[in-house]
């Protein structure tokens, strides 16, 4: 019931804020999910879904922070001669 991967909104339907839905693509597999908890989600955005409800959108700027952190602690040229154990 806990899907770890984000999906991409392909379309949105409905007016009732409690029952608005989106069709979300998880690597090509389409699921219909409730947008009741993400009222301002838009088509083409990536969302995290649990048990049929979109609960969070993926923030593009924050998504890059991971690579900035990793570049700071483990720069590419700085790669040591160590073998992975």
């Amino acid at each position: 019931m806990c899907l770890a991967i984000p999906g991409k909104i392909v379309s949105i339907a409905g007016d009732d804020p409690f029952t608005r839905t989106a069709r979300v693509s998880f690597e090509g597999v389409i699921k219909e999910v409730s947008l009741a908890y993400l009222p301002d989600a838009r088509v083409d955005e990536y969302v995290v879904v649990h048990a049929g409800f979109a609960l969070s959108r993926v923030d593009e700027a924050e998504a890059r922070e991971v690579f900035e952190y990793l570049a700071a602690i483990a720069p590419e040229e700085g790669e040591g001669p160590e073998e992975p154990r």
């Binding site: 019931m1 999910v33 908890y37 009222p39 409800f53 969070s56 998504a63 991971v66 690579f67």
Partner: protein, 381 residues
């Protein structure tokens, strides 16, 4: 960006592992809370690539695994009533109750249906006004908003033949219980990112402060997990114990306010029994008034239904608290396999025992010992 492959880059993972090796000067024990994280760690073999100083323990974050046998017994009792349609997430069907499971009840004629969302169950109730539709509402803070919505819409729209069998649990009290247990070994947590996407970070600060443990809210991809570990180990090495957010692309500080608002409107915090662990005070959610009229246990008078308890052989309670690795359980891969599970942690796709079986299978000769009868299983090296 698809937010997947970028976070699975092997070269970046190797560099991050090197950074972790350079950082660590002493032994540390860190628990990843969520079963999805456990599966990713084992699938990518991250635990075997870490420096030997770092021990990962697997946490209780598998919703199927922590649902007590007594609740399953009640689900079976409900499903066996002729007027009831019991709807459940598929993962729950093979979890053993005290004597049998929902799948066997279904085979014996009970009307048990697998749904993907609680709204599917509500929709079924609208279509079948002559039946009683019960949804088995399990899970952590990730599934609670959806179940709250089902109860809210049932009441709003007057769907009176719908109810919820509730076994909701909360993460922070479980971390408290793990840290307060005798011989607790956990020194830092990787908290479950998706749970925090709902709740935000605020509830974790008191736990971090009280027990002086760093808590890093972490995602599910290999680079997320390695970065979360690096952040957690850096805190440990520096003597800090703060809540940090590795998974900021999904988790906001305040969580999801709309989901939290309805969750608290429909549910209240209650004491809750956890499978193999026992009752943890204020560790679950129950329907609050006026939504408690949608409580299936109340509607069908099940509150006093006695249960013989859990099968004795299984040690999943210890596994769920990080006190026993699945491979250390004598039954692992012998009497207990995914085809013949003794415990919920072997059944569930998020369970730690299933993760070990899938990604660290026991040697085949151990498996052959099953069924050859009476042989005392030798312990794994």
């Amino acid at each position: 960006m698809k937010y997947l492959d970028e976070y699975r880059d092997p070269a970046a993972a190797r560099r991050t592992l090197a950074a972790i090796r350079a950082l660590v000067t002493r032994p540390w024990t860190v628990m990843e809370v969520c079963g999805g994280q456990t599966h990713a760690i084992l699938k990518y073999g991250l635990d075997q690539l870490l420096p030997s100083e770092v021990t990962l323990l697997h946490g209780p974050g598998c919703p199927v695994c922590v649902t007590p046998a007594a609740k399953i017994d009640r689900a079976i009792a409900l499903a066996s009533r002729p007027e009831v349609i019991l709807c459940s997430f598929g993962d729950m069907l093979r979890v053993p109750g005290s004597t049998t499971d929902l799948l066997s009840a279904k085979a014996a004629g009970a009307d048990v249906r697998v749904v993907y969302s609680p709204l599917d169950a509500l929709e079924l109730a609208r279509r079948e006004p002559g039946r009683e539709v019960v949804f088995f509402a399990v899970g952590f803070e990730t599934t609670a908003p959806g179940n709250a919505m089902a109860a809210y819409l049932a009441r709003r729209d007057g769907v009176s033949n719908f109810s919820l069998l509730v076994s909701h649990v909360l993460v922070p009290p479980a971390l408290e219980a793990i840290l307060s247990a005798d011989g607790a070994r956990v020194q830092g947590f990787l908290a479950a990112g998706h749970v925090c996407a709902v709740t935000g970070a605020a509830e974790y600060a008191p736990v971090a402060r009280r027990h002086r443990v760093p808590i890093v809210i972490t995602g599910f991809e290999p680079l997320d997990l390695l970065m979360g570990l690096h952040m957690c180990l850096a805190q440990l090495e520096q003597g800090r114990a703060e809540v940090e957010n590795q998974y900021a692309r999904v988790v906001r500080d305040q969580g999801n306010p709309a989901a939290l608002q309805l969750l608290h409107q429909v549910f209240e915090v209650v004491d809750r029994e956890w499978r193999g662990i026992g009752v943890i005070p204020a560790s679950g959610l129950g329907l609050r008034r006026p939504y408690d009229e949608y409580d299936a246990e109340r509607r069908f008078g099940l509150e006093t239904l006695a249960s013989p308890g859990e099968p004795a052989a299984c040690q999943s309670g210890l596994v769920l608290q990080g006190r026993l690795k699945p491979s250390e359980c004598a039954a692992f891969g012998r009497e207990c396999t995914p085809e013949h599970p003794l415990g919920a942690t072997m059944v569930s796709s998020e369970g730690a025992c299933a993760a070990y079986f899938l990604h660290r299978p026991p040697p085949p000769n151990a498996r052959d010992a099953r069924g050859s009868g009476g042989q005392a299983p030798s312990r794994e090296p």
